[in-house]
Symmetry: C2
Subunit: 206 residues, 2 copies
């Protein structure tokens, strides 16, 4: 863009924001001018919290989730079921599953998904460390909770091969029609899978 700001300070602040994903120049300008109206302490806290996060946040040495300490709160929580490991692609997925309040086991964050198109191979992901955790014993179930895409299926398959011979149950999260969705509007693949993978009525409604 050919915009000429009357202020270098403004220019640099707009550049900073417009470097973020999904933020264009106009949105960046709006955000910067919003911050100008805020108390300078608020802006200081804003900048400091971002710096603190970037410089001090750690990845849990066990599950690779984001953490303030070497071991994350979930891995360090004695109330969690240490015999279950839920394998997810990224940190957002941990949050999504935690928000359901339906899972009390541990996690393993791969840090991505196998994608030949994007040049992401198994060695780029935390798969070796997952295998080590399982081999160390004390685990009786690994739950694969990756996206139901071709990459997800590939990654699931690769992990299942690496875990062959281990004395664990290997499961994937159920795929099916969303709760509250009408059959009419479910996509064919999902609906097809949910028929093939049907479960006993009593099992589902216990």
């Amino acid at each position: 863009m050919s915009e000429q700001f009357s202020s270098q300070l403004l220019e640099r602040a707009v550049d900073a924001f417009s470097g973020l994903p999904g933020v264009g120049r106009k949105t960046a300008l709006r955000l910067v001018l919003f911050l100008l109206k805020q108390d300078s302490e608020i802006v200081k806290t804003f900048a400091q919290s971002i710096l603190d996060f970037r410089n001090n946040v750690k990845f849990c040495k066990t599950c690779h989730n984001l953490s303030d300490t070497d071991e994350c709160e979930i891995c360090g929580n004695p109330k969690r079921d240490r015999r279950k490991i839920c394998v997810v692609e990224n940190v957002q997925d941990v949050l999504a599953i935690e928000n359901t309040q339906q899972y009390q086991g541990l996690y393993h964050v791969l840090g991505g998904i196998i994608s030949p198109m994007e040049g992401v191979g198994p060695s780029d992901l935390e798969i070796n460390s997952l295998v080590e955790r399982v081999k160390a014993g004390d685990v009786d179930e690994v739950i694969l909770a990756l996206s139901p895409t071709m990459e997800g299926d590939t990654t699931n398959f690769y992990i299942s091969r690496r875990l062959e011979g281990q004395n664990i149950a290997l499961t994937t999260i159920a795929r099916g029609v969303s709760i509250g969705d009408t059959l009419e509007y479910a996509d064919e693949v999902t609906l097809g899978r949910s028929i093939v993978n049907r479960v006993a009525f009593k099992e589902q409604n216990h």
Copy 2:
């Protein structure tokens, strides 16, 4: 939201971003995780440029545009036509008009618009300083370039009353800008034309 982050640092960074206008928790999380992937120097520059802007940017003592110095680049530029003052609502409007490259005069940023609904009266705006600039002489035209809304019309009318008796041409930008549209989002050609084809204030309001 009931989200529980495993990291306080993450929590605070997401809080910071989600305080921005139009940024929800999910977008904030995405932005924060994006910054985590960036080089720490880039994040440092990001935070620093925002702090520098907030702490050091000034308002031009003459036109109240954003500036790095006491007098902005436009007011200090000897090539600009000092006999014309274009009155705008805010800093974005200066940028919008500058981008048309159709105007070579000076500006006057009101810092808002008269709006009884939002409790903004004439004394909250830089109207007295505009009258002083005109009374000081050396000005032969004041161009009112406010948004064509009811508030804009009210402000135009108020300013025209305050400038009565001054030996100047009082014009408004041509209403090529669609009624109800704000200047910020008008396309450059329309906005440029509307400045070139500005009309006498009295002609328009007969």
